[in-house]
């Protein structure tokens, strides 16, 4: 138990100690009880914000902790989304088969990540080249999928439908004889929230463990770690697979949220977004990334609603200020700022 707590409170993540976890529980309880005191739109909107956090967390592990900048996380996002669509449309939503579709949709991106990662890391590709190769992969996917509009592009009963996007996939369903529990609205929200909790805690344990220590060392200097006897490429591959799997999770949940997936989710603009959230929030810390993703997706939506055509300009300026004023990411910088303030006050007291 003590070891578990140590891992949870480890050195590579911000926030530890009893007070932090009490605060965390408070926030989680508030979040979980949201559906009882807000309207249905707020619930689906919140679900939407939470859906993106998985991709960001995965990117944080891969880039913030492992130093691997992948510009193509959206490839896994799209693959998972389309896989869920194809499998669930073919299997239907009886007998809990949508959960089978979910599992397959999570499995395929991990497999792709393993294959692509093997191709890259065991082929000696590093640094910025990883970014370009992954970007090329996601753009190939997008270009290819955009033209699958014709009737010949059908897998079983599921039409890929090209640029217009695939829709009509059933939501997650738990079949209970007389009535089914359909994961839409509050049930979907709780499901996503639970996943956020599990993934966040799980990744916290991971990066604070020995795996995390080696990963961070690799980020600093891969050759040195290699010479210390570690199989660097295996660690990089694992981090990449985790990143890919998390991006896939985001993809599936997005498809479930909107009952729709389209190739533009794998395009250049979509590919840049997770990098922006992670970089702006503080890529080296999971909590910072989690907070930043929710905050930035919310802010950009608010700007779009109230800012009209100035929304994008305001967003750009905001990010510019963040990156210039808060080099470690705005969440991390905020936390550091408060810490310093308190330390100063303690000293002067």
């Amino acid at each position: 138990m003590r070891r578990f707590l140590n891992l949870l409170n480890g050195p590579r993540t911000l926030g530890r100690g009893l007070q932090f976890w009490v605060g965390f529980c408070v926030v989680f309880v508030i979040a979980a009880s949201m559906p009882t005191f807000t309207d249905s739109f707020a619930v689906t909107n919140l679900t939407f914000f939470l859906v993106w956090t998985f991709m960001a967390l995965g990117l944080s592990v891969m880039w913030g902790y492992g130093g691997i900048l992948s510009f193509g996380q959206t490839a896994f996002f799209g693959l998972a989304g389309y896989t869920y669509g194809v499998v669930s449309i073919n299997l239907g939503d009886a007998h809990g088969l949508t959960w089978v579709a979910l599992l397959v949709a999570l499995l395929l991106p991990v497999l792709l990540a393993l294959v692509l990662g093997y191709f890259m890391f065991y082929g000696g590709i590093r640094d910025v080249f990883v970014g370009i190769v992954t970007l090329s992969v996601t753009l190939v996917f997008e270009t290819f999928m955009a033209q699958t509009a014709g009737p010949e592009w059908t897998i079983g009963d599921a039409r890929l439908n090209g640029f217009n996007g695939m829709s009509g996939m059933p939501p997650l369903t738990i079949n209970g004889g007389e009535s089914n529990l359909i994961f839409d609205g509050p049930p979907l929200y709780w499901f996503v929230l639970a996943l956020v909790l599990v993934c966040y805690l799980g990744l916290r344990l991971l990066v604070n463990s020995r795996f995390g220590r080696v990963l961070v060392a690799i980020r600093g200097n891969p050759d040195r770690v290699e010479m210390l006897g570690y199989n660097v490429r295996m660690y990089q591959l694992s981090a990449f697979a985790i990143g890919g799997g998390m991006a896939g999770l985001s993809g599936v949940l997005y498809t479930l949220w909107g009952a729709y997936i389209t190739p533009s989710s794998m395009g250049l603009n979509a590919a840049a977004l997770p990098i922006i959230w992670v970089a702006a929030g503080g890529r080296k810390d999971l909590t910072a990334v989690l907070v930043a993703t929710v905050a930035l997706t919310w802010v950009s939506q608010q700007l779009a609603i109230y800012g009209n055509q100035y929304a994008l300009i305001l967003m750009g300026f905001l990010l510019l200020c963040v990156v210039l004023g808060a080099p470690e990411g705005f969440v991390v910088s905020l936390v550091m700022f408060f810490k310093r303030k308190l330390a100063l006050r303690k000293q002067l007291a």
């Binding site: 900048l69 191709f119 890259m120 082929g123 000696g124 590709i125 590093r126 910025v128 080249f129 370009i132 190769v133 970007l135 090329s136 992969v137 753009l139 190939v140 270009t143 290819f144 033209q147 250049l268 840049a272 990098i275 922006i276 970089a279 702006a280 890529r283 055509q309 100035y310 994008l312 300009i313 967003m315 750009g316 300026f317 905001l318 990010l319 510019l320 963040v322 990156v323 210039l324 080099p327």
Partner: protein
């Protein structure tokens, strides 16, 4: 005789693809290839050059002068951005992603608000010529040679002039260069401005052949990044071969199987080339010649 005509047609397609890749990558080769700043606003420098060129030409300036105006405008914008934003990012190059991406959004949206969703364009100069039964645009046939001339000029600049040598020294090891008396701050600024101006020149050169919209930078950005990265660490050495190889394959695939295969083929080629030569083309050349 017909054989020669066919051969010219094939050569024209290759040269056209080569020119587009080279010119797309030129400014980025300096800013990213040499300085390491991941400039996601590269497309917007191109857009700036194109817009100023079009507006100047429509205001009555002769086309070559209008192109110079476009280049200068992009250089000026580059100067301002370097001084106020990019300068603070040299120690943390990953952060240049967020910074330049933000600049890109502000520039695109700003141009939309200021100039509207589109402006009336200018005509491609110099008319057309015929080879056999096919006709080609004179201007586009010349572009590859302009690209080569620019590459040559850059090579001369960075190898044979004082500024060039100082610039390469500063980028390679700033503290050493400073110790030897080089004004590194000014060199960084000038090099960045050069990169921005070159991007503007690309916009100026392609402005008469494309529609002028605020998002026109997106037509260049992917090609520029892949060309520059494939060329490896020493862009002067690797840019031309990189554009040549990628251009050859893209032109061949487009000619044989259509635009879709050409686009996908370009990206797949990038993946294969990087896998085969993980340090890029120039890394491969340098290693072969014994340097490292």
């Amino acid at each position: 005789m017909d054989y020669l005509f066919q051969a010219y047609a094939v050569f024209y397609q290759f040269a056209d693809a080569f020119a587009f890749l080279t010119l797309s990558g030129l400014g980025l080769a300096i800013i990213f290839g040499m300085m390491g700043v991941i400039n996601l606003a590269h497309g917007e420098f191109i857009m700036c050059g194109a817009y100023v060129t079009v507006l100047s030409a429509r205001a009555g300036l002769a086309l070559p002068l209008a192109m110079l105006a476009g280049t200068a405008a992009a250089g000026l914008v580059g100067y301002l951005l370097e001084r106020h934003i990019v300068r603070r990012l040299y120690q943390r190059l990953f952060d240049s992603i967020v910074a330049t991406w933000s600049i890109s959004i502000v520039a695109t949206q700003g141009m939309l608000i200021v100039a509207g969703p589109s402006i009336e364009g200018i005509k491609t100069p110099m008319g057309s010529f015929e080879v056999g039964s096919l006709s080609f645009s004179v201007y586009r046939a010349i572009l590859p040679f302009i690209a080569l001339a620019l590459l040559g000029a850059l090579y001369w600049l960075f190898v044979r002039t004082r500024f060039g040598v100082h610039s390469r020294a500063t980028i390679q090891d700033a503290s050493m260069a400073k110790a030897l008396g080089v004004d590194t701050r000014s060199i960084y600024s000038k090099t960045f401005v050069l990169g921005a101006a070159l991007a503007g020149l690309t916009g100026a050169l392609y402005a008469p052949t494309m529609t002028a919209v605020p998002t026109m930078g997106t037509a260049f950005i992917v090609q520029s990044f892949v060309t520059v990265v494939v060329s490896g660490a020493d862009v002067m050495l690797g840019l031309a071969p990189s554009a040549a190889i990628l251009g050859l394959i893209q032109a061949a695939l487009t000619g044989l199987s259509g635009q879709l295969i050409g686009q996908i083929g370009l990206l797949v080629t990038v993946i294969i080339v990087i896998r085969t030569l993980p340090t890029g083309l120039s890394g491969f050349f340098l290693r072969r010649n014994g340097e490292k």
